[in-house]
Amino acid sequence: MPALELERIRRTYGGVVAVEDVSITVSRGEFLTLLGPSGSGKTTTLRLIGGFERPDAGAISINGERVDHLPPYARDTATIFQSGALFPHMTVAENVAYGLRMRGVAPAEMAARIKRALDIVRLTGFEDRYPAQLSGGQKQRVALARSLAVRPAILLFDEPLSALDLSLRLQLRGEIKRLHDELGFTAIYVTHDQGEAMAMSSRVAVMNKGKIAQIDTPTRLFHEPASEFVFTFIGESCCLPVKANGAKICDVAGTAIDLRLTRKLKAGDWRLYVRPSRLKIGKQAEKCDNRITAEIAFTEFLGDFWRHHLKAGALELFCDYTGPENFKPGQKAPVGWNNADMSVFQ
């Protein structure tokens, strides 16, 4: 029996469709991420699962039971909010105890579960602090402990790390992953940060305009994107809009360009995509399947590599290059990539 089942749910706000025809099945212990740009419907989907919104159509089941008519307090879910949403007038221990009190857990067991929950998030000794006395990262840990303590069927994460700074975000995302591996809870995680999605999830549902564009493992999403949207949304890519006319390749304005493609394109408008890390430049480009000569517009040094921004007529691309050659702005250089690294969409 799946832990969570969404069947063709739909939610509109006064004529604006927020979520449309979304169906997801999540098995027990799975870590599913809803990933998408803002306004893609990921948060609405999460709020529908938590019961903060009601679907206009469709069914939501938790552990096989229909819940879409139930208010949040009657659903076996627990949400970790972006703001943490800790009760400011309660201590850390009282915050964690809140859900247990509402569920009528006996005092002795309650004390044990609070202790265990704070232990899990490594906040033992913080019991008597108030939320105002905690740092941002500590607050999110308390929020996590508060949700874990009630042992819900599903944990819902609503962009819990997006308000934190980068190093803390990386650290906490590692901890959430570790806790998931240790405790095996079922989690739905909403984020717009693909790094988070890729690092933590067993599966990722990429959402766009209220619909699910693709739902798959992180590796398959990256290597076998189902659509142009998924390809461009996951990872960085250069886009080359071209017009194919027999063997001749032109830019969108119709000017012929010196792009040698080994792959034959049917006549029409195409968009070719290459990841900047797979783009070769200089000597390394010579053995590639596809080649173009480009001028270096400007160069950014990003630590591990140089990012060369290139121009070839109306086409713009960028290439991550680790060396050994030294390219200067204004210099012309051959740029190339292999067919395996190129995605084409019409």
Binding site: P71, Y73, T79, A85, P88, H89, M102, P131
Partner: protein, 302 residues
Amino acid sequence: MTAATLADDVYAAAARRARRTEKLMPFALMSPALVIAIVFFGIPTLLMLRMSFNEHVPQRLYVPGFTFSHYAQLLSEERFVTAIWTTVKLSLLASCATVLIGYGFAMLVWLKPARWRLAFIGLALTPLLISEISIIFGWWMFFPKNGLLSYALLSVGLISDKISLMYTEFAAFVGLVYITLPFCFFILLSIFDAIDKRLIEASGDLGARPFTTFYEILLPLTRTGILVAFAQSFIWAMGTYATPSALGPDTLWTIGYLIQEQMMGKSNWPLASAFSMILVVLVAVVILFVRSLNTERTRFHA
């Protein structure tokens, strides 16, 4: 004296100066407000206190002197004691009602989508734009036998005969609530606005029903606001003079009314001042009491 001890002395003097500046700084920063408070509130109150001990001779406003007789008179004569009690009772009732209504209204505005907000706030502001006298005239058209209220109740069939609520304690009570409500509403709204609405969702999410959420989350978080709003309403209700005397029965003697009577009618300034001092003390007692109800925990709300 060696160079080293000289340097030590200079250093010690500088440190002393710094400590002195640090001590004086809060007062320096407060001084504009402090000056206004002292000049416009402190000094008049002290002058009034002095006046309340002066002698009163018929046909004269006052004669300089020192006597407790006015206070003794106020606390022994039944007419005055009743007035004090009536005023406190009416003010307490009106403040309780004001806080209840204001709380509900503020919570509604806070919970409703932002697009309703301006309309609600405008609605709450309107009573403040009308003078107390105009509002009293409004009530005079509302409460009497041929007034709006009577007709409204009659036409919906709640009463069978026209009634007049004019010149009743109820009318005075309603009038007071109306005067104090806007202030109460804005205090409570500002308190509600400081609360993260996600807390309500978090509470529900953890298994609390709506009433439990109200009792466990909203009520403790708005506690300070309730106390402040109550104190504010009480001060207004105690001091408002025109509304209760214009809407209440002739027998409704409030402190405000009697001060006016002593001051203007009987030209007994010392007695009026003594009565005013009693009003000040009563308000101060209530404010101190309300402040003592505020717990240590509310410190962490911000």
